[in-house]
């Protein structure tokens, strides 16, 4: 699994996850994902190339979202695969982290202008 990090502003970061977010995938991206959460106030996560997510992926997302929330920040997910979205809803992640159709919607929900 690959992770690509793109700064969109001073403390706004876009993270693109590519591959299967299973036990091997989560281990591969965890250090970079964690450091992105630490560096950001607003983190938006592009899941358009994540066709699979297991509970280890839920753990990764919730740990990051908790850290962001603690410092007044926020995380938003966007462009989820339909099966992955079922995983997020079945575990109640959708009640805690915003799930959006597009990057602009995820940014707008975090109070960031899409033009950023």
């Amino acid at each position: 699994m690959k992770i690509e990090r793109t700064p969109l502003g001073p403390d706004i970061i876009l993270v693109r996850l590519e591959g299967r977010l299973d036990i091997a995938g989560a281990a591969a991206v965890e250090p970079e994902f964690k450091s992105s959460c630490e560096a950001a106030r607003v983190l938006v996560v592009d899941l358009s190339n994540t066709p699979f997510m297991a509970s280890i992926g839920i753990r990764l997302l919730l740990a990051g979202a908790k850290g962001l929330h603690r410092k007044g920040g926020t995380m938003g997910l966007f462009a989820c695969d339909p099966q992955v979205e079922k995983v997020l809803r079945a575990t109640g992640v959708d009640q805690l982290v915003g799930i959006h159709a597009t990057r602009d919607e995820a940014l707008a929900a975090a109070g960031v202008s899409p033009a950023t």
Binding site: A54, L62, T91, L96
Partner: protein, 147 residues
């Protein structure tokens, strides 16, 4: 309830108890899904459930024991478009069906970051069935029928 014995054994694989073996097992199941032309929802449900079940076995099944791990996975084709995966291991007794559902928290601060594996299996499967036979755990995962 559908049981594997009512169907046809399609394939089996023996794996070890390392993290890499989980990837090998889900890869084996993915190849079967391609060969057998399973619908996407069936494939996803079984890959996810096997990943969760095997993660539990690899993480906890042999901790504190000097037992040589023996883990066998079987794939069965059942009547009416159902597919079953059975996981047989000689680890310590562990019944995932006895695990309580986590409570959905009111806030992100109250959220537990782990414990979602069994919840996902229950959500995506038609049946999650456990029994202990002799020195073996037997966990049967049955996907919902296609359509």
């Amino acid at each position: 309830m559908a049981t594997p014995e009512a169907g046809t054994l399609v394939s089996t694989i023996d794996v070890g108890a390392r993290i890499d073996d989980i990837t090998d097992a889900t890869g084996w199941l993915g190849t079967l899904a391609d060969e057998q032309g399973w619908p996407d929802a069936t494939r996803f449900a079984l890959e996810l459930s096997l990943e969760e079940a095997l993660t539990n076995v690899v993480s906890y099944g042999f901790a504190g024991t000097d037992r040589q791990p023996r883990i066998r996975i079987e794939c069965w084709r059942l009547p009416e478009g159902r597919v079953a995966v059975r996981l047989i291991d000689n680890g310590v007794p562990f019944d995932p069906t006895s695990i309580a559902e986590p409570v959905v928290p009111d806030s992100i601060e109250d959220a537990k970051i782990g414990g979602h594996g069994v919840q996902l299996m229950r959500h995506f499967l038609e049946t999650l069935d456990y029994n202990r036979e002799g020195e073996e755990n037997r966990l049967t995962l049955v996907a919902k029928p296609a359509g």
